[in-house]
Symmetry: C2
Subunit: 373 residues, 2 copies
């Protein structure tokens, strides 16, 4: 984390009197979330947009206040951008369970005065959203103009529409799903296993030690990256091109560009992410199941009053379009206000993090259509 | 390996006078391959079928001679089965680089009298086939009736048709490809990384040590298993069912059946497979590229005289049907005798290892159509 983003980051601690009852049955007190804001809250407090980050994101979504320190959604947030900071007051929080300022497994456990490690309770997408709600109230906002996010961020948007129907006017879940398929569960499980089998993981209590579970985390990240891209994207980007070689090496060094890219992604990730947070967040994603939790999708959304814009990506095979369409069908069946767009892109699940004119246009129009001032 | 299969296994050592020149430029002497045979070679030596195994297979393809010790292709090989041992003399060899009796990284290096480890040269599918050819000659066979195999075995069948056009009458590559896509390269690369990053791997020199790279190999196997099944197969088999639980555990134990299955597959594999062989065989698979090696597919097959039956599996996303169709198109363009069938199955890449009536019927008819006695 660069110093400039630290300077821009704010903190809010909720559940100081009464603890937060978690979905897993445990209680969590003094829950801190880190957040950043961009733009200005208008006098009627009606122009707030909550941006929710995907697995490896954080509260630093935009470089607006910290030029030179890129945010993870600079394509979408800023002056005259789709989430226009001239019009909207934009909030982005790091989720609980994360490792970028919010309470998570690396935080100090007040009972023991050492990091929680695996004593941190397993949290759900619903728990994350409950804490965000407290922040929104704290900021003096009663009704959010919109909750928007991709992947795990889209799951949060869906939960907002369900949990807080009176406090959110619209939601935009992008490349999201109401529950992971078994294949996606499997990829997350193998990633977690790679961390857990790394002996430096030390049952989750590696904070302050010399050995860190970097190898396991790197493998988990590499697996993840394959699922975030499509085969087509990899073909366009790398093909079977060799990395700085004219022929195979006939050894076990890196031969192909795609290998080199994944290795680089793995190594880069370990310097900025906590292995335990990877476990907690993928667990929250795996547990996310609106069908199970609310006894079916129609039941889940029956009290929702938000306008929905559901966006999927044609080449996303991690959370395929079909899963977004199933959400749309359920919403239509119960006469909710829902729009749907499948973005034609070869870049797979992560296309929403890249420059994407179709996505930018869709969000610009949807947000602008019903802005109140 | 059970005792009965050891008893049934035979060995042949080739390249005792002149070494084998490998595709990678190195020389390998005294190359042993282990093999099993089923059925009887006829008097004209014209009824021999060479079965080639996939990555994790070995020479024990059938339980015909060892009742109670299942072979990996018992669905296909045996009396009155598609590869009918009443009619055909069936040969299955363990590939070089493997760990089931053929020369590989765990074999004793004659120069040092200790296992090769990483001093074993990187071998290719072409190298594997060159050694098989020597065995076939040794067995007194001039022309094979057929070379058949799935996945990596199908790659060997393709190389046979190219390298030895006068010694093979027909080939049946199943769920094979002429080259891996970048996505499939990526999965293999991450699997290798999981082994290499396991500190018990010890740069490949772990033979005889207490610590074995079991964790890395288990992770590699789990990744592999996801790619061998389809999402549909996982949905049919496991869905999001919990493993011996009625609700989530809210901890990091195994929650879902699909997790439990993969963990079991990983743990089971390490007891029967050598981690270095996993590195060598996936490297051979990654290097397999008939386009590159022969300057295009049409050029690759131009001297082939074999009849081809190319079989793909509709739900195979590791080596998708499109890749088989590309082989078929090239063969048709140069007027080769080729048949093609896409088997409709939800079970993904590994469908050829399961009972599959369509596959059984196709192979029965293709083999029987042009048998000579």
């Amino acid at each position: 984390m660069s110093e400039s983003s630290v300077r821009n980051m704010q903190f809010f601690t909720a559940f100081t009197d009464e603890p937060l009852p978690l979905d897993g049955g445990q209680l969590l007190s003094n829950v801190t979330i880190s957040y950043e804001t961009y733009g200005t809250l208008n006098s009627s407090h009606s122009n707030a947009v909550l941006v929710c980050h995907p697995l490896s994101g954080d509260s630093h979504a935009s470089s607006l206040n910290t030029p030179g320190d890129p945010g993870w959604w600079d394509t979408m947030i800023g002056e005259n951008k789709p989430i226009d900071t001239n019009r909207y007051f934009v909030i982005c929080t790091n989720v609980i369970g994360g490792c970028k300022g919010s309470t998570g497994p690396a935080s100090i456990n007040p009972l023991t005065q050492v990091p929680f490690g695996l004593n941190f309770p397993v949290v759900t997408i619903g728990d994350m959203v409950n804490v965000q709600y407290e922040l929104i109230r704290h900021l003096g906002i009663d009704v959010l103009h919109c909750v928007i996010g991709g992947s795990m961020g889209g799951m949060q948007a869906l939960e907002w529409a369900i949990k807080f129907p009176n406090h959110v006017r619209s939601v935009v879940p992008i490349a999201a799903t109401a529950r992971l398929s078994p294949q996606s569960l499997a990829f997350d499980a193998v990633g977690r296993n790679a961390i857990i089998l790394d002996q430096s993981w030390n049952n989750g209590f590696y904070y302050g030690l010399t050995d860190q579970p970097e190898k396991g985390l790197a493998i988990a990240r590499m697996i993840g990256h394959i699922t975030y891209l499509s085969d087509e994207a990899m073909t366009l980007k790398f093909g079977r091109n060799l990395q700085k070689k004219t022929d195979y090496g006939y050894d076990f060094s890196t031969d192909f560009q795609v290998e080199s890219y994944l290795k680089y992604q793995g190594e880069k990730f370990v310097s900025r992410f906590d292995a335990n947070s990877y476990l907690y967040l993928t667990k929250a994603i795996s547990y996310f199941d609106l069908y199970k939790k609310y006894d079916g999708l129609e039941n889940a959304f029956k009290s929702s009053t938000a306008r929905f814009l559901i966006i999927s990506i044609s080449s996303d095979w991690l959370y395929p379009s079909k899963q977004s369409k199933d959400i749309v069908k359920s919403l239509m069946k119960i006469n909710k206000d829902v729009s749907f767009a499948e973005i034609q892109s070869p870049y797979g699940h992560d296309a929403f993090l890249m420059p994407c004119p179709d996505l930018e246009q869709l969000v610009t129009h949807f947000l602008g259509h019903h802005v109140t001032s």
